[in-house]
């Protein structure tokens, strides 16, 4: 009976913690479809606020999607070759660069934004365009792409695969496109999902970098909470959710590239070596 008591105590605690996290989200979503939140659910359900959000903020949503996709393209073009080179070069310099790549994650977004503004703020055309936000997002998300691809590359022993391809007559590009890239697909997929998710939800950096004409979804969300009625802001949250949750689900599914690759890779050869006489 003592065990059962402990079990129920743990269950209650778990439920409590879950409720603590989930209830605000549910309330917020409910608020977005309630006719009048102050009167409660009884006032009836409506999609009016969602429609209003679309009218007011459609361009922030569009901009967020554009930035996320552009950010994905940039991190793919820059990140995958970077991971390849880092994996290929042994030695201290490569490891140092690998460590340096983590810095943008450790430094607060605000500090990165300030750095970008003081460095490039003088280029007015760049400062005013959405490309400025894109630059911030790329700095922030690139390490995630590099890490994800690097983890897979190291797990699949790509060096031997490349040597195998070379021994069959394949030149560098044939090896890279035909053997290396296809075999690090799980890492590229995981990195891509991560980059898109992070870019869509990024607020810290973006809030510093945006102009009234270049607002992204999270920035617009902050605005709406500050200046619109609660139901509109909540409906906006709902829209955000609809965009982000599928990505999060996919991320859960494909987000552990290293472990997946290990499972897929051939069982590592064990080498019983004869001791030197």
């Amino acid at each position: 009976m003592k065990r059962a008591g402990l079990f129920y105590a743990q269950l209650a605690f778990t439920i409590l913690v879950c409720a603590f996290m989930v209830v605000p989200v549910v309330l917020s979503i409910l608020a977005g479809v309630t006719a009048n939140f102050f009167q409660g659910i009884g006032s009836g359900l409506t999609l009016r606020w969602v429609v209003q959000v679309w009218g007011l903020y459609a361009d922030t949503i569009r901009l967020s999607v554009i930035i996320a996709l552009a950010c994905l393209a940039a991190t793919l073009i820059a990140g995958v070759p970077t991971a390849y080179v880092l994996a290929k070069r042994p030695g201290r310099v490569a490891r140092l660069i690998e460590e340096l790549l983590v810095l943008p994650i450790a430094i607060p977004g605000l500090a990165i934004a300030l750095g970008l503004i003081t460095t490039y703020g003088a280029f007015e055309g760049f400062r005013k365009s959405w490309l400025f936000i894109l630059a911030g997002h790329v700095v922030f998300t690139l390490p995630f792409m590099v890490r994800a691809v690097l983890a897979v590359l190291l797990a699949i022993d790509f060096r031997t695969l490349e040597e195998g391809a070379a021994s069959l007559g394949a030149g560098f590009w044939q090896r890279f496109l035909g053997v290396v890239l296809p075999n690090c697909r799980p890492g590229i997929l995981a990195g891509s999902l991560m980059v898109v998710t992070l870019s869509l939800g990024e607020f810290n950096l973006t809030w510093m970098l945006h102009t009234p004409l270049t607002k992204t979804l999270p920035v617009g969300l902050a605005d709406s909470y500050a200046s619109m009625r609660l139901e509109v802001a909540s409906a906006y949250t709902l829209v955000f959710f609809v965009i982000l949750v599928p990505l999060l689900v996919l991320l859960q599914r494909f987000g552990q590239p290293a472990r997946r690759a290990e499972r897929a890779a051939p069982v590592a050869a064990t080498v019983p070596e004869r001791a030197p006489a």
């Binding site: 040597e163 391809a165 070379a166 021994s167 897929a264 080498v271 070596e273």
Partner: protein, 363 residues
């Protein structure tokens, strides 16, 4: 498909951190020959193979020639070699068939011809039924066959095998060894085979290059290195060897366990070597040498006896007698005079590797 000859001249390899993986050496391999590079881990055999493959370049001054043509500056993809890796290096993103066809595709062999040759290879390696499988659905032995088929499909001038059987279990290893042997003989291709397994080396090699610490310890046919090892290292590394130290006097050698006839011209202390199969068990009475069984290991086809009391150290004798042996039992030993040798005379047919920076061992 006949293979090209290979000639290495003054090839050494020093890595960036200063370790000398391979001291400078010369090596010539005839077209169609199978040469086995044999040695313990870290002896430089894999480095030597990678130099020939073009995966490493030799230290300045070294030259690699295939059929008289200097290929030193060519990377592996332009040397037309076939290579089988220890880990197989099969492409997980392709099926068995696609793996085998890869080299042909890269060489832009027309699709029809490519399909025909791929099918031929799959047939030859008995993996036709697996053609649509993914690599991760194959067993170790099947992977090995795919790797071989893939390497041979491109009709290479030289076939390089880097410990291809090491990752397999003993039974499978033995079976594939026979198959590889038949394959190499059938193709008549020049092959270089790296292994640390001396039984594999003996079975497959036309010649064996025994290596130690980046140098060649001996080059010779399997019989040469087995019956006439050039130095103690080779004698110990290949097979089991017994040492008897005694004193030669009046046409015989005397030792604690008895005496037996030996060259009339020999005098003074001698060290005689012999393989376990060169000794015969005899009844103790009247046998030239007598000792006691220290331990007996029944191995099925023979019994391996460790016998003490003959020389200073126990000797190992194999017998096909079917009875059980007991520790402490007294046994007599007779030695086959042909199987007796000393290291000094064994060394004579092959040049001893000299100590020094630029050692040359020409086969």
């Amino acid at each position: 498909m006949t293979g090209a000859s290979i000639a290495l001249a003054d090839c050494g390899k020093t890595f960036a951190d200063g370790t000398v993986a391979l001291h400078r050496l010369d090596l010539e391999i005839a077209g169609g020959e199978t040469v086995v590079l044999l040695g313990p881990s870290g002896c430089g055999k894999t480095t030597l193979l990678r130099l020939i493959a073009g995966l490493e370049s030799p230290d300045p001054g070294g030259r690699v020639r295939f059929g008289g043509e200097d290929v030193t500056a060519r990377p592996i993809e332009r040397r037309n070699v076939g290579m089988v890796f220890q880990s197989y290096a099969l492409f997980p993103n392709m099926t068995v068939e696609e793996n085998v066809a890869y080299g042909l595709k890269v060489r832009r062999v027309p699709p029809k011809e490519r399909a025909r040759r791929t099918a031929e290879m799959l047939e030859m390696m008995h993996i036709g039924a697996l053609r649509r499988r993914r690599v991760d659905q194959l067993s170790g032995g099947q992977r090995q066959r795919v790797a071989l088929a893939r390497a041979i499909a491109v009709r290479p001038t030289v076939l390089l095998l880097d410990e291809p059987l090491t990752a397999l279990d003993a039974l499978l290893r033995e079976r594939l060894r026979v198959e590889i042997d038949a394959l190499l003989r059938g193709l008549g291709i020049t092959a270089i085979y790296v292994t640390h397994d001396q039984a594999e080396a003996m079975a497959l090699g036309d010649r064996i290059v025994v290596m130690r610490e980046g140098r060649v310890a001996q080059i010779g046919t399997p019989r040469d290195v087995y019956f006439r090892p050039a130095n103690p290292f080779v004698a110990d590394f290949i097979g089991t060897i017994n040492r008897l130290v005694g004193v030669a006097r009046n046409g015989a050698v005397e030792m604690p366990g008895g005496r037996f006839s030996w060259r009339a011209d020999a005098a003074g202390p001698v060290e005689l070597l012999f393989r376990p199969e060169s000794a015969r068990l005899l009844p103790p009475e009247g046998a030239p040498l007598r000792g006691r069984v220290a331990s007996a290991l029944f191995m099925g086809d023979r019994t391996r006896l460790v016998i003490a009391g003959i020389g200073e150290t126990p000797i190992i004798v194999d017998t096909t007698e079917r009875r059980q042996f007991h520790a402490g039992e007294e046994v007599g030993i007779g030695l086959d005079p042909e199987g007796l040798f000393t290291l000094a005379e064994a060394a004579a047919p092959d040049p001893q590797p000299r100590e020094g920076a630029a050692e040359r061992v020409t086969a």
